[in-house]
Symmetry: C2
Subunit: 364 residues, 2 copies
């Protein structure tokens, strides 16, 4: 297999390293900076240094676009133009809606599937790249109703093979949710830093030590300005709405803070702690794999529909195969889901979509 | 020396352990819970289990009130009533204004000095107590113009001996600054958790993995509800004002988020990162100690005035002595300040108050 990585910084370089270690595939690399490309080759993240997108994408089965969010639309279009009809093209950007909406059937959009790995980004650049960066990490994929099911299957399998956990999510929902759980924290951190700086200068205090809560809450303030400028601009609409909503929420909390007793405020605080634990613990599902067989008509959008419905219900697909393949009128999709309860719930979700589902016993 | 600790939970117990290890003083302990008191004795945090505030405070030179914020006014008054005329009474609560304002001359207020150690509180209860909890930690003290200078000196020395770094700050300023750098982060974290929970349920998404920024920003959400209910209620006015200001600030940022280019948003982000670094680095002062001798009239408020002015200018007093002592008409205060530049600046601040200052060479 041949994989192309377009842009070999922290994420692209880590994809290259992980592909070489875990997929035993050849990696063709391209980067606008030739020194970055050289370094990626030195570190063993790529096998072949390419002078252009066309050269890198030619003959690749999977093409990863790993550039700043603002450059992704053009890069993805070039990659689709340069790659073959059975290649899947994906990206790793933090916002998905505009990118996915901009790639329609005329530009080969059925071969493009948006992606977003939730992987650490404290380091930056190719020198921070690590083969295990995606180990156990959630990796969102945003198939649409025109997405080619066979290519979706190929991509999600490649990502699972990299050690990550793929999950389908609708691109618009992805951006709205990310606006609250990822982009808004950055806006709040910036606002808090700026208020603290003003407060201290108004009070003519040089406050030598700020408490641990300030450090925690503001840790993300000002991280990677260029990247975050791009992300917040690309997800403008959802971010603005998330900020408007938190302003409303804070304004509402003023009543409690003004009039509430210590006990009432404590109750609010306790509720928030419980809610946070529930949010963070939602991820802990496990158990033996169960095999679901779904009878489907082989038409565009089926795989996306099923993957999105399961993703939205929080049911994680550990593995997936399509059988028989692409040119048949009807066929079946095999899904593997961890845990008995989880797979029962998955079966129900798929049945609710109108498909016949068989729960094949054991680990299939 | 004898020290009394009223309330022997995490902070009170740690004070007991630190006093015994570093001050070689006897610790008399009292707690409303006899099982907590027993445990404190078992762990070696106190030498003597007392049945009442009166029993514990009798004969103590320094009395630490270490109860929940809501119970401090009554406890401090009892401690002042039960302790001798040369005993200093202090507390460890997170808010200071109302407590300090409520203790006037009639209740022995000149012997009460508010305190607030900025020490970790992830653990709670006597079993989390540690002798080194205050090592290097900032410990705010809030003297007023009626504060007895000799007692201030005694207290700040005891706190420095515990390994902490005392700093004088006006009680009202303390509460306003804490509202922004400590209490507001908790309110923001709660609001963000509640918005995330709502967003996910509106989108019918069970989002299995939230990014690291969400974890960081919400870490303090819901920590110790009872304690934080008390704190937010006690500092109600400043917290409400801090929330109102961040609402205004976030509302203003909407214009940038709606209209700004990626570069403009990146510039804002970069500014916030720099501001945060400046805020966190303000603490790193060092160098050899310099000795400042200040000629003063021995009247109430002098020590507080000088300590507050230096604290407010961010000049840290590493050590302090009054000589000669209490009953003279005039005398001098010796201050030790780390770093040549810092001590020059300290001398200037004190001169600006109208005092004669001599910079004694070397480490005095």
């Amino acid at each position: 297999m041949r994989v192309a990585v377009l842009g070999v910084g922290l994420i692209g370089g880590s994809i290259g390293l992980a592909v070489k270690r875990r997929l035993a595939a050849d990696v063709a690399g391209f980067d606008v900076s030739s020194s970055v490309l050289d370094r990626a080759a030195e570190l063993g993240a790529i096998d072949q240094k390419c002078d252009s997108v066309v050269e890198a994408a030619a003959g690749a089965e999977v093409v990863f676009c790993s550039a700043p969010v603002g450059e992704l639309p053009e890069l993805a279009r070039s990659a689709l133009g340069a790659s073959s009809e059975d290649a899947v093209v994906t990206d790793v950007g933090s916002t998905k809606r505009d990118l996915v909406a901009g790639l329609d059937a005329r530009t080969g959009g059925e071969r493009f599937i948006g992606g977003h790995p939730l992987a650490g980004t404290e380091a930056s650049g190719i020198d921070g790249a690590r083969a295990d960066l995606f180990e156990g990490a959630r990796w969102y994929l945003t198939p649409t109703e025109t997405t080619n099911g066979v290519l979706y299957d190929k991509l999600q399998r490649a990502i699972a093979d990299l050690g990550a956990r793929p999950q389908a999510i609708d691109a618009v929902t992805h951006d709205r949710v990310m606006a609250t759980v990822s982009h808004l924290p950055h806006v709040l951190a910036n606002a808090l830093v700026s208020q603290a700086a003003d407060t201290l200068s108004e009070e003519s205090e040089r406050l030598p030590t700020v408490g641990p809560s300030f450090r925690d809450v503001t840790r993300v303030a000002g991280s990677s300005p260029a990247i975050w400028g791009d992300i917040l601009a690309a997800n403008r609409e959802s971010v603005v709405s998330a900020v408007e909503r938190i302003v409303e929420r804070l304004t509402n909390s003023l009543e409690l803070l003004r009039e509430g007793s210590a006990d009432e405020i404590a109750a609010w605080h306790g509720w928030a702690g419980d809610a946070r634990r529930r949010l963070l613990e939602a991820d802990h599902v496990g158990g033996p794999l169960h095999h679901l067989q779904v009878s489907v008509e082989n038409r565009p959008g089926t795989v996306a529909e099923i993957a999105l419905a399961l993703g939205s219900a929080g049911v994680n697909i550990e593995d997936m195969t399509l059988s028989p393949a692409t040119d048949m009128r009807t066929g079946s999709i095999s899904l593997w889901i961890a845990g008995a309860e989880e797979s029962e719930r998955g079966a129900e979700v798929v049945r609710d979509l109108g498909y016949a589902v068989t729960l094949v016993d054991g680990s299939g």
